[in-house]
């Protein structure tokens, strides 16, 4: 495969490491709470069965934690090496959340993690239980600060750009930390981890049922996880709905790509199921308008009339812009200050962005020459157009359109599997309460097969979030081509291969060790 450029290679490397990192993280987020619930039963009843059950899942937790810990640091390495302009541009905003994350991760997790594993016979039952809960809370709090940083990239607020340093400086910590995008992202991402962990526990327990081993352990693990998973999934769906509303207002192009929506009208439909027409290319909109017009967006689709309007605007006859509409402007969007504005055409935003960049260059020249008046004029030019800054690096309007098929299919896979898991938890609870969960082999196979499916669903969610916001590293302010460093493509290729090998070895080790622990069972 021939890759187009340094940007593509750097993106591929970041995507690879982020996706591998996200294989390890979500199980930790949810399993901690499932273990804590099991241990709560132990403390309340004094029944050694619950201790044995909690300890088995703690071993699984430990394997996942040990393999996954610090894999996220590699992403931070890449910021400095492959994305130095970006890293400098955001530096002050990321500093505080990542520092808090580091302190929390180190002190909370490492301290109470030790008590959780070494402290069974050394601290009281209650103290041990508190440690288990604190480990679960600590892993989630770590995720909070990473997600705050990620949400800022999707909706940058609470900062002021300093043209003397080319850095965004945080002026309102709480606006960054409590941004509605950040809160929604945190809830959506962590509940995704809870659902994943619940499905994982049910799948592994179903294997025990299938083998007719440890049936009480398996049934009680399933019971706790199914209820925990169902409640989490309901919150996950609710936050997903909130996410769609935010995306519609703040990243309308992402929503249009998620739906494969090219041209819109009032009362926009939502695609429940569809196959995109690969010949419908947005580049043709400018380069071959006749061909573009003749190609339909889908080969096949089942749509719910007015569904998208209802979903994002809460009114059926409202307008949701499509890709063409966004390129042409004229729709309403929410700017960084939370004000609703009429979007200009992308070509106009590109011109305004170039004015902003020229303002920064003039400011620098005037600053070096000691020309205070020139500085003031240049500063005004920069800040008046700063909301369009990133568009100044866009070569062609169609470059602001993300990969539509990847975003569309990832979104629909995520939603479809989300629906499947709702059914899955309902079936699980029904079979368990009827006392017949151990009898149905079809269910055991379905539960085991659900483990890879829930990982696929989780990865698809991140693809929607991250591919859907391309080309922006920071929404509207810095596209990938301006964020990338001047490193050689060869060195990025080398490290890409190294990461691939390292993470694949770690994944194989994780699966191998986990299978060994599972085969031994809780009795070991």
């Amino acid at each position: 495969m021939i890759l187009a450029s340094l940007v593509d290679l750097s993106r591929l490397q970041f995507a690879l490491t982020a996706m591998y990192h996200w294989i390890f993280v979500p199980l930790t987020l949810g399993l901690g709470f499932i273990i804590a619930i099991m241990e709560t039963y132990y403390v309340r009843t004094g029944n050694e069965f619950w201790k044995r059950t909690a300890k088995f899942w703690m071993n699984i937790f430990a394997v996942n934690f040990a393999i996954g810990v610090a894999t996220g640091i590699i992403l931070e390495f890449q910021f400095g090496t492959n994305w130095s302009n970006y890293s400098w541009f955001v530096g002050d905003i990321f500093g505080a959340p990542l520092a808090i994350e580091g302190i929390l991760a180190f002190f909370l997790e490492s301290t109470f993690f030790a008590v959780m594993f070494f402290g069974w016979n050394k601290v009281s039952k209650k103290a041990h239980l508190i440690s288990t809960y604190l480990v679960a809370i600590g892993t989630n709090l770590s995720a909070l600060w990473i997600l705050v940083a990620n949400a800022w990239m999707q909706f940058p607020i609470g900062m002021q750009f300093n043209p003397d340093t080319a850095r965004n400086e945080m002026v309102d910590f709480w606006a960054v930390a409590l941004s509605p995008v950040a809160i929604n992202k945190f809830i959506h991402t962590t509940t995704n981890g809870y659902v994943l962990a619940a499905v994982f526990v049910i799948g592994v327990s179903a294997w025990f049922l299938m083998k007719k081993r440890e049936e009480e352990f398996a049934r009680k693990s399933i019971k706790i996880s199914a209820i925990f998973g169902l409640i989490s999934l309901i919150v996950l769906i609710w936050s997903g709905d909130g996410s769609a509303v935010h995306v519609a207002k703040k990243q309308p192009m992402k929503l249009a790509a998620m739906e494969g929506l090219y041209k819109s009208h009032e009362g926009t439909s939502i695609v429940a199921l569809g196959v995109l027409n690969p010949k419908k290319q947005i580049a043709d909109y400018y380069e071959n308008p006749l061909r573009y017009k003749n190609e339909k967006p889908y080969w096949f689709n089942i749509s719910i009339p007015q569904g998208l309007s209802l979903l994002v605007n809460r009114k059926m006859d409202t307008y949701v812009p499509g890709i063409e509409d966004i390129l042409e402007g004229g729709y309403v969007y929410t700017d960084r200050n939370g004000d609703e504005k009429i979007a200009p055409p992308v070509e106009e935003r590109m011109a305004l962005g170039k004015l902003a960049i020229a303002g920064l260059a003039d400011y620098r020249k005037a600053s070096k020459a000691g020309d205070e008046e020139g500085k003031e004029i240049a500063y005004r030019q920069l800040m008046d157009n700063f909301d369009h800054f990133g568009y100044g690096y866009i070569d062609k309007p169609q470059d602001i359109v993300p990969n539509v098929p990847l975003t569309f299919y990832a979104f629909h896979i995520m939603v479809t599997l989300g629906g499947f898991f709702l059914l899955f938890f309902a079936i699980t609870i029904f079979l368990e309460y009827r006392g017949i969960i151990g009898k149905h082999k079809w269910y055991h196979w379905m539960a085991i097969a659900s483990i890879p499916l829930v990982y696929l669903c989780s990865q698809a969610g991140w693809i929607v979030a991250e591919v859907g916001r391309q080309p922006w590293t920071i929404q509207d302010l810095l596209p990938v081509n301006a964020a990338v460093s001047g490193v050689s493509p060869g060195s990025v290729k080398t490290t890409l291969i190294m990461f691939f090998i390292l993470f694949t070895v770690l994944l194989i080790a994780e699966i191998g060790i986990m299978l060994k622990v599972i085969k031994k069972g809780p009795g070991a």
Binding site: A62, G80, A114, R364, G392
Partner: protein, 72 residues
């Protein structure tokens, strides 16, 4: 003699590590190898900051502003 708090913490970790199961030992070995590869191989030899050649904060700012105002 009553141990002080630091001694008790030390004993807690010491006993925890010395009585660790084979699974725990394997996981610690993996963590150690992984961190070694990440910090002493990848970070030292492959992931140097792109702005490392500039000493001061001002020089780094200047370089980024130059990059941002002269897009390729």
């Amino acid at each position: 003699m009553k141990n002080n708090v630091f001694k008790r913490i030390w004993n807690f970790y010491y006993e925890g590590f010395t009585n660790m199961t084979s699974l725990g030992k394997t996981l610690w070995l993996i963590i150690a190898i992984k961190l070694f590869i990440m910090f002493f191989v990848l970070k030292l030899f492959f992931f140097k900051s792109d702005l490392r050649e500039y000493d001061s904060f001002e020089e780094k700012s200047d370089k980024v502003i130059e990059n941002l105002t002269n897009p390729k």
